[in-house]
């Protein structure tokens, strides 16, 4: 089993090490994921229903209230 994991590890490790253009791409992926998942998600994208309410019952009540009080 340890041998299998070692082979899988070496497969990925050597694959990444021998890349040419891939290194540039991975750097780009890392920067992008940092911007998307850390900066943008953290600063601008809280899930409104998740953060404002504690339970699904409260969320349902809020949406039902919203649906039955149309904006005039």
């Amino acid at each position: 089993m340890t041998g299998l994991f070692k082979r899988i590890w070496l497969f990925y490790f050597e694959g990444f090490r021998s890349m040419k253009i891939g290194k540039k791409l991975w750097l780009l992926i890392a920067i992008k994921l940092f911007l998307l998942l850390v900066v943008i998600k953290w600063l601008f994208f809280p899930n409104i229903l998740e953060t404002h309410f504690n339970s699904d019952t409260q969320r349902s009540e809020y949406i039902l209230e919203y649906l039955t009080q149309p904006k005039e």
Binding site: G15, S18, I21, L33, L35, F45, N47, I48, Y66
Partner: protein, 509 residues
């Protein structure tokens, strides 16, 4: 009220921006994976090292596109939670299940078979490597299936029931959702047109090599594979486009009317081959809808109903009703929708006060009118009409370009087969300049699909105005510009890395 309109407009603009940018990366991946798999199959069959070199070059191009496009779709998932939280709650598990399957499939495919495809050339057998390449192609296309199933459901909701206690749509039949005709056609049309885009990309890049008199053998081989694949995909795309139009006619007639700028319905309705809309035209007035047009008689009736004589309702028929053809006016649907909203409210209040009898009666009333629920939120009938000019011009640009691509694919395949392609420099230039046109056609397709179904987030059930979260419109505006900058940066990076790689040629990857 003005704040809400601005908020909805900015939220829609932001979602449109992220979706359109995301779609700049996806179709090339969907198509190029198959082209690469075909090339590698030829290599494994023939043992010719040239094909291995050709496969590896296009695989590198695929890797660049994949890496830069990776996770650009994730912003849309953030937006569901932030900008469209009401919508996300109401769609419930209908959206959750396909997206979860897509996420799992993408993760397993990308972390295993993608790795074997890129790292495994000298580490696994030829056949294992080929299998991995095919699985990447099939897996990435299946990923698209789940997203398009979710989109198809929004265009034509089925297989669910609205639960008035939780305010969520609950899945009643998974197979109805999966095999929703709208979703099936949308998937087939989207992937087949993605294959056309990828083929045009490969042909365009190969044409550039031929214009530069470089990599001639490589370029011709690439054109043969891409043009053959693209031609088959193009013909299939025409057939799936026809099926999509048929579906639209049955389930979204207002979208069909907008696609053709048809205000007054008619039997033997024609398709506008070329036309300029009259900007003064409004629904219900007597202005001519077109300043000029060239029409193919009967074609729209045939496209929409597979009958040359069929009546195709126009915007005015759908808006104000048409007794002869038993089409209800939107105002009638608005009235029914308001009854559904009032019944839902009465049900909620009766439940709260513990009056079971009143709750039961209110629920029955709601069920009788719920198919028009969304209309209850429209302020006036005209709100049910999408932006006709944008839908019309996008549709006609897409169809026009699709026709041009078919001609181009035939020309490139023919001249390459008779070994004349290098002499036909105008064909090579046309192929090169058709790369951006393929992207334009794809984006136009999405505009037709999404703008044409407005004002609905979920067809007939939830207008976009009710789907949006109550946020400050300025924060949505700020994030709109943030994304515009981020995505433009990614696009510039992609084009720069890609062009450098192409200039280096197949020897260097």
């Amino acid at each position: 009220m003005e704040h809400i309109d601005m908020l909805v407009d900015w939220s829609r603009a932001q979602f449109a921006l992220t979706a359109l940018y995301h779609w700049l990366f996806v179709p090339l991946t969907l198509g190029l994976t198959f082209i690469v798999a075909i090339m590698e199959t030829i290599y494994v069959k023939t043992g010719d090292e040239w094909w291995k070199k050709t496969t590896k070059f296009w695989m590198t191009v695929l890797a660049i596109n994949f890496a830069i496009g990776l996770a650009t779709g994730i912003i849309m998932e953030f937006e569901f939670g932030t900008n469209w939280s009401n919508y996300s709650w109401i769609v419930g598990d209908i959206f959750g299940a396909p997206l979860a399957i897509e996420g799992l499939m993408a993760f397993f495919m990308e972390s295993t078979f993608f790795a074997v495809m890129f790292f495994g050339w000298d580490k696994v057998s030829k056949k294992m490597h080929l299998l991995s390449t095919w699985l990447v192609a099939i897996g990435s296309n299946l990923s698209a299936l789940w997203i398009l199933v979710a989109n198809g459901w929004m265009q034509h909701p089925m297989g669910m029931r609205f639960n008035p206690d939780t305010a969520r749509n609950e899945m009643q039949n998974f197979w109805d959702v999966l095999f929703n005709p709208n979703a099936v056609n949308k998937f087939l049309h989207t992937v087949s047109s993605s294959y056309v885009l990828a083929s045009l990309f490969v042909i365009g890049v190969s044409a550039w090599y031929l214009l530069k008199r470089r990599e001639v053998k490589f370029a011709k081989r690439s054109i043969i594979v891409a043009a053959s694949f693209g031609l088959l995909a193009s013909l299939y795309s025409i057939s799936t486009g026809d099926q999509s139009a048929y579906q639209v006619a049955q389930t979204q007639p207002m979208k069909l009317a907008a696609m053709e700028g048809l205000y007054k319905g008619e039997n033997r309705a024609g398709i506008v081959a070329f036309g300029i809309l009259n900007p003064k035209k409004k629904p219900g007035d007597d202005h001519d809808p077109f300043l000029m047009k060239v029409e193919i008689p009967g074609a729209l009736s045939f496209l929409g109903y597979h009958d040359l004589q069929a009546f195709v309702p126009g915007v005015d028929d759908l808006l104000y009703g048409n007794e002869k053809h038993q089409i209800a006016a939107i105002q009638k649907k608005i009235d029914e929708g308001k009854i559904a909203v009032a019944a839902l409210k009465a049900y909620k209040e009766a439940k709260k006060s513990g009056n079971k009898q009143r709750a039961k009666a209110a629920l029955e009333r709601f069920r009788a009118h719920e198919k028009y629920l969304g209309y209850g939120y429209l302020k006036k009938p005209e709100d049910a009409v999408p932006n006709i000019a944008l839908t019309f011009y996008s549709f006609h640009t897409m169809v026009g370009l699709g026709t041009w691509f078919l001609i181009l694919l035939i020309l490139t395949l023919y001249y390459t087969m008779i070994n004349e392609i290098e002499k036909k420099r105008w064909v090579l230039y046309a192929a090169l300049w058709s790369i951006p046109l393929a992207y334009v056609a794809h984006e136009m397709g999405w505009i037709v699909a999404e703008v044409g179904r407005q004002p609905w987030a979920i067809q007939d059930l939830l207008p976009v105005g009710m789907a949006a979260s109550n946020l400050a419109s300025t924060s949505v505006m700020i994030t709109f510009w943030l994304f515009a900058i981020l995505f433009t940066g990614l696009l510039i990076a992609e084009v720069k890395i890609m062009t450098t790689q192409i200039k280096n040629g197949p020897e260097e990857h």
